[in-house]
């Protein structure tokens, strides 16, 4: 099968300057993986293992690291800068994938209504295509299009943030624990919205979580990180069909079996 490599990550080291621990903290070390188009990658790791840092590096928000990240639509590597100065080369934006980012906090502009927040990230053609109506309907938010985010519940704000990422029709969806601190019912619902979207549009997904259940529910492939300095200790496909994941007994049995076979993931939590 000849799929195009979409995402290649090769981070040798990511260092933070720390004042408390007098000196440098190595946040990430030797993080190497590639993702094919349409994969649903869950990044599972304990708190503080550099998951958010990893996403910031991949999306280009944080250019200061040793290594290279390629987001090109075709394979084009060989730019392996050793320091932060050639970060421009490391992150060329031409021909780059469209990234939809769902942050841990919804990060909606509070001074713009729901609809205006969506319009903000869209081009005129995209707005005219009617995608806003479509997405608002899919997230059951039509009645709130003229509402300001502060008047919405946190669950609804998360939904807006989710469809904002969907709206740009991303090649890569990047999600940083987007569903923490939601009640179970809302969490299940949003999982379903996400999976539906993924199955119809088939973007690549990078989903960060520290919950093994959530990871196994969503991912087609799992990357497990060690605690600091974060590095990949397990890279494994999740081989359970999506319909089966919705059957509670089957899913529970799978989680138990998976944890037994992969003791590495037990340290998480």
């Amino acid at each position: 099968m000849a799929t195009l490599m979409q995402l290649q990550v090769d981070i040798q080291r990511k260092i933070f300057l720390s004042f408390e621990e007098s000196g440098q903290v190595v946040a990430l070390e030797n993080v190497r993986f590639a993702a094919d188009a349409g994969e649903f990658l869950c990044i599972l790791g304990p708190s503080g293992c550099g998951k958010t840092t990893l996403l910031n590096i991949i999306t280009g928000l944080d250019p200061h690291f040793e290594g290279a990240v390629s987001l090109e639509a075709s394979i084009d590597t060989g730019t392996c800068g050793q320091d932060a100065h050639d970060s421009k080369k490391k992150h060329s934006r031409e021909n780059e994938l469209r990234i939809g980012f769902v942050f841990q906090n919804p990060r909606l502009l509070p001074w713009r209504t729901v609809e205006e927040n969506l319009r903000l990230v869209l081009s005129t053609e995209q707005i005219q295509s009617g995608i806003i109506d479509e997405l608002l309907a899919s997230a059951e938010l039509e009645a709130f299009r003229n509402t300001y985010p502060s008047q919405l519940s946190i669950g609804m704000q998360r939904r807006v943030s989710l469809i904002r990422a969907f709206s740009i029709q991303p090649d890569l969806l990047v999600m940083d624990e987007p569903f923490v601190s939601l009640d179970k019912r809302m969490e299940d619902k949003l999982h379903q919205v996400l999976l539906d979207y993924w199955q119809t549009r088939n973007p690549s997904v990078l989903f960060v979580t520290h919950q093994i259940n959530e990871a196994l529910k969503l991912a087609s492939r799992l990357l497990v990180f060690s605690s600091r300095p974060g590095t990949i200790i397990l890279d494994i496909p999740v081989e359970l069909s999506y319909p089966d994941r919705n059957t509670p007994e089957v899913f529970r049995a799978f989680v138990t079996k998976f944890s037994e076979e992969n003791p590495g993931i037990r340290q998480i939590h």
Partner: protein, 250 residues
């Protein structure tokens, strides 16, 4: 209280008693150096009938608006840059302190000396006086800008214009309103001095003239008219704008 629940009643009473005190004081002192309300009103109406008052207030307002726009544009730009960049801020901080403490009169005199007694010099002098205040306020706001929204903008690849208009300016809006308010108050006072020193029209020029003629009634009339205009700006323009931009707050 008779006026409980009627704020209009209280305002009216307050206004009427101010007029009464004015009238009584005018009765008590020589009315030439402290004219009573009716005399002032007469002068005011005469001046309006001649078209003089409107002309001079118009000239002054034009200078106020021009120098205000100039000071705000420059001040906001520099303020944002200094608020975001720590190193530039450190470098220019002493410059800012210097300019903040130059008396308005010095700037005005120097501008007239260097540029001549022209409109440009007048406008520039006023703007230079206001710019450091704008910078200080906007810098404070820019320091408090939320990093999260910039990251969001970056990952969704929003253009610089969109970031400025949709992300930076809304966050700065309370600071913008503050600096607009204090700006108007400061600027119109400086404009009068500028007119007094080197222009041949405007409220400042007129006041200077009345001073030489010892025409206190006209000074009162112009002052009242001008205060009224500024109040109209406040209630008719600034407050509606403020309500509009803070709609989203709960």
């Amino acid at each position: 209280m008779v006026f409980r629940g009627s704020s209009f009643g209280v305002s009216l009473l307050s206004f009427v008693s101010l007029l009464a005190i004015w009238y009584l004081v005018a009765l008590w002192v020589d009315s030439r150096i402290f004219p009573p309300p009716l005399t002032v009103l007469k002068v005011l109406l005469e001046s309006i009938a001649q078209g003089e008052l409107q002309f001079h207030i118009g000239q002054t307002l034009m200078r106020v608006v021009t120098s205000f726009v100039l000071a705000m544009t420059v001040g906001i730009g520099i303020g944002i840059v200094l608020g975001i960049s720590k190193s530039l801020d450190r470098f220019f901080d002493s410059w800012l302190t210097l300019f903040l403490n130059i008396p308005a009169l010095v700037t005005i005199i120097l501008c007239y000396v260097w540029l001549g007694l022209f409109e440009t010099a007048a406008i520039l002098a006023v703007a230079i006086n206001k710019i450091p205040n704008v910078i200080i306020t906007i810098r404070e706001g820019a320091r408090a800008l939320e990093r999260d929204y910039f990251e969001m903008a970056h990952s969704f690849r929003l253009s610089r214009t969109v970031v400025l208009r949709q992300i930076i300016l809304p966050q700065l809006s309370p600071y913008l309103m503050a600096t607009t308010r204090s700006g108007l108050a400061l600027i119109w006072k400086i404009v009068l001095v500028v007119e007094l020193l080197g222009r041949s029209n405007g409220v400042g020029f007129q006041l200077h003239l009345f001073f030489q003629l010892f025409d206190i009634a006209s000074i009162f009339a112009y002052t009242l008219a001008f205060v009224l205009v500024i109040q109209v700006l406040e209630y008719g323009l600034l407050q509606p704008i403020e309500r509009r931009i803070s709609r989203w707050r709960r």
